[in-house]
């Protein structure tokens, strides 16, 4: 057991917790909640520890079964992966605590599925090999299919069906792309694939480009970029708040995969394959931002609005990714945690703010019938309103929150020939979002009457509400921390962008790490 073996912990902890939870009898509700929250809490120090390791600039590599890199499966950790791991762990803590306040009881096996979803997410960020990336994508997708329809009802089942079908088709294309790339290069390791694609002869170049385009399209489907986003708004609006909060990172996994494959396989020094998607991705990303902003204008509820906010942020992230410059990547990496945290907080708040909300837990809360159903405002919406304001200001990108810093970094990175299109779209979409958010926000927080929900045990209800709001506050505290510690965070994301551009060092680390000696094992 060495430091590098700690890389396995983000996979092993959720895997064993999930397996344990799946075997646990369903009536042991309290035990299930404790194990689930405990496993999520355990991930946070592990992820932060790995971030500290990655911050030294080292790239620890674990070869599974001690088979060296191009032949065996490797897990590797770099600054980008560590950043995503920490972000996942933060979301996991908030979502699991929030879920244990009611959402988890809406259906069966919530906690086990939640842990498997975390395992898939963590694995995708650690995978150093294209097929392994596919497998972890499948793990997180399979868990997400079930989590999305958690709670049932037509509002979840039909969008859930769309989500499952489109992702299954996407998985088929992912496999075809992997197959072509393997057929051309004879390797599945991403670092090795990048090396081998450089020496590709001209006759197989169209095939490589076709495979690359297919691969990027699959990632854009997960990220919900312009022509492939139709599944997102309804699916996210229908999901239970805790699930939607965790799903805030799902689209970012797509962005992560685009960034990773662009850096390693289709990077700028890849010769004929350099930046083959650049122009396409750029325009698709800008279109995604426009569509997201227009969609937000039509949103009546906070959860639908948040779905479109996710869409706009994905557009911004993809635009920065497609520029393939050091500055733009740093901006993407700063904006990514900022937008993930605030949209997750908004999804949690949407559960409290939206009028049409499900009877959360029949044991605790039930809609009062017509006899007692006087339409009154639910008490104590002030705190929800204040948190909503903080979250929405971050999401739109107004000062002084972290969204503003992220967008400002992005504007600085898009100076030059692409500035005209980029600046007008980024600033225009922010304006539209501001209008949409102020309208939806004032409708939901101030003017709308609320059907009072009878609470059987008022004290328990108050405690649960406090816990739920604490989860949202925890996520927003992350946003505040991103502003307060902007200098160290910027140093980190700069170093991350530098590490992503320095492919040679990455290849050296992954392909030339000597296998562990017998004594180490």
């Amino acid at each position: 057991m060495t430091v590098t073996h700690a890389l396995l912990l983000p996979l092993l902890v959720p895997m064993f917790a999930g397996a344990w939870l799946a075997m646990m009898p369903a009536r042991r509700q309290r035990w299930q909640r404790s194990v689930s929250v405990g496993a999520s809490l355990a991930l946070l120090p592990i992820a932060v520890g790995l971030l500290c390791v990655a911050d030294t600039g080292a790239i620890p590599v674990v070869a599974m079964g001690n088979w060296p890199a191009p032949f065996g499966i490797v897990l590797q950790l770099d600054r980008l992966g560590a950043l995503m791991l920490v972000l996942t762990a933060v979301l996991a803590v908030a979502a699991s605590v929030h879920a244990s306040c009611g959402d988890a009881r809406l259906g069966r096996h919530f906690d086990a599925l939640f842990q498997f979803q975390l395992m898939g997410l963590n694995g995708a960020f650690l995978a150093g090999d294209l097929f392994n990336l596919f497998v972890f994508f499948e793990i997180l997708l399979i868990a997400s299919y079930a989590l999305l329809v958690h709670g049932g009802g037509p509002r979840r089942i039909v969008p859930g069906l769309h989500y499952v079908l489109i992702n299954l088709a996407g998985s088929s294309f992912f496999l075809i792309a992997i197959g072509i790339l393997y057929g051309l290069t004879g390797t599945l390791n991403m670092a090795d694939m990048g090396v081998r694609l450089q020496g590709l002869d001209a006759s197989s170049l169209p095939l490589a480009i076709a495979a690359g385009v297919m691969l990027q399209l699959v990632f854009l489907l997960k990220a919900a970029a312009f022509p492939l986003y139709f599944w997102l708004p309804r699916a996210y609006a229908g999901a239970t708040p805790s699930v939607a909060a965790l799903f805030a990172i799902m689209t970012k996994v797509g962005v992560y995969a685009v960034l990773r494959t662009q850096a390693l396989i289709f990077n700028l020094d890849a010769g004929p394959l350099a930046g083959f998607m650049h122009d396409w991705l750029w325009w698709l990303a800008l279109l995604t931002m426009v569509i997201g902003a227009v969609g937000a204008l039509a949103a009546h509820e906070v959860r639908v609005l948040t779905g479109y906010l996710v869409l706009t942020s994905v557009g911004l992230l993809l635009a920065g990714t497609s520029l393939q410059t050091y500055e733009a990547w740093a901006a993407v990496l700063y904006y990514l945690p900022s937008t993930t945290l605030c949209t997750a907080a908004l999804f949690l708040l949407a559960g409290a703010l939206d009028t049409r909300h499900d009877p959360v837990d029949p044991a605790l809360e039930r809609p009062v019938g017509k006899a007692g159903g006087r339409v009154v405002r639910r008490p104590g919406m002030r705190l929800e309103g204040a948190l909503f304001l903080v979250a929405i200001v971050t999401a739109i990108g107004l000062p002084p929150m972290s969204g503003f810093l992220g967008k400002a970094m992005m504007l600085r990175a898009t100076m030059g020939p692409s500035a005209a299109a980029a600046w007008s779209v980024i600033l225009g979409s922010s304006l539209l979002l501001l209008i949409a958010a102020s309208r939806t926000g004032s409708r939901q927080v101030w003017s709308a009457p609320y059907v009072r929900h009878g609470v059987r045990s008022p004290r328990r209800g108050v405690v649960l509400r406090r816990w739920k709001l604490t989860c949202a506050m925890f996520l927003l505290a992350g946003n505040v921390a991103l502003v307060l510690f902007a200098a160290p965070v910027e140093r980190y994301v700069d170093a991350t962008a530098g590490q992503l551009s320095d492919v040679a060092a990455y290849r050296e680390a992954v392909l030339h790490t000597p296998p562990a000696k017998e004594a180490d094992r």
Partner: protein, 108 residues
């Protein structure tokens, strides 16, 4: 053999995609199944189509590429499980909405 193999993959993919674009859940699931068959065959062919090679390493002989077989195995397991899940979800949607249209609403 190459021509027959290619033709099979091509026909399966075309039929799969066509069925995938239909509006009834049953045909869509059927399309997904055909597509996953095509993908399986395609992955297998990426280890190059040869006959008479030993599947495991034999001294002095050229052996078949084991990696595509491992990929195919994983792909089969995943697509099998997901087809089952998609069928259950379609049945649930049928039960809730009373129609097998993928949107849950009958559109004339």
């Amino acid at each position: 053999m190459e021509a027959a193999f290619t033709l099979t993959i091509g026909v399966l993919t075309a039929c799969g995609l066509f069925l995938l674009l239909r509006a009834r859940t049953f045909t869509v699931v059927l399309g997904l199944t055909l597509l996953s068959y095509a993908v399986t065959l395609f992955l297998l062919s990426m280890g190059r189509l040869v006959t008479g090679r030993p599947p495991v390493i034999v001294e002095g002989a050229q052996y078949a590429d084991p990696v595509p077989q491992a990929l195919v195995l994983t792909a089969i397991v995943i697509s099998f499980a997901m087809t089952a899940f998609a069928i259950v979800l379609s049945l649930r949607s049928l039960g809730l909405s009373g129609t097998d249209h993928v949107d849950g609403v009958e559109r004339p």
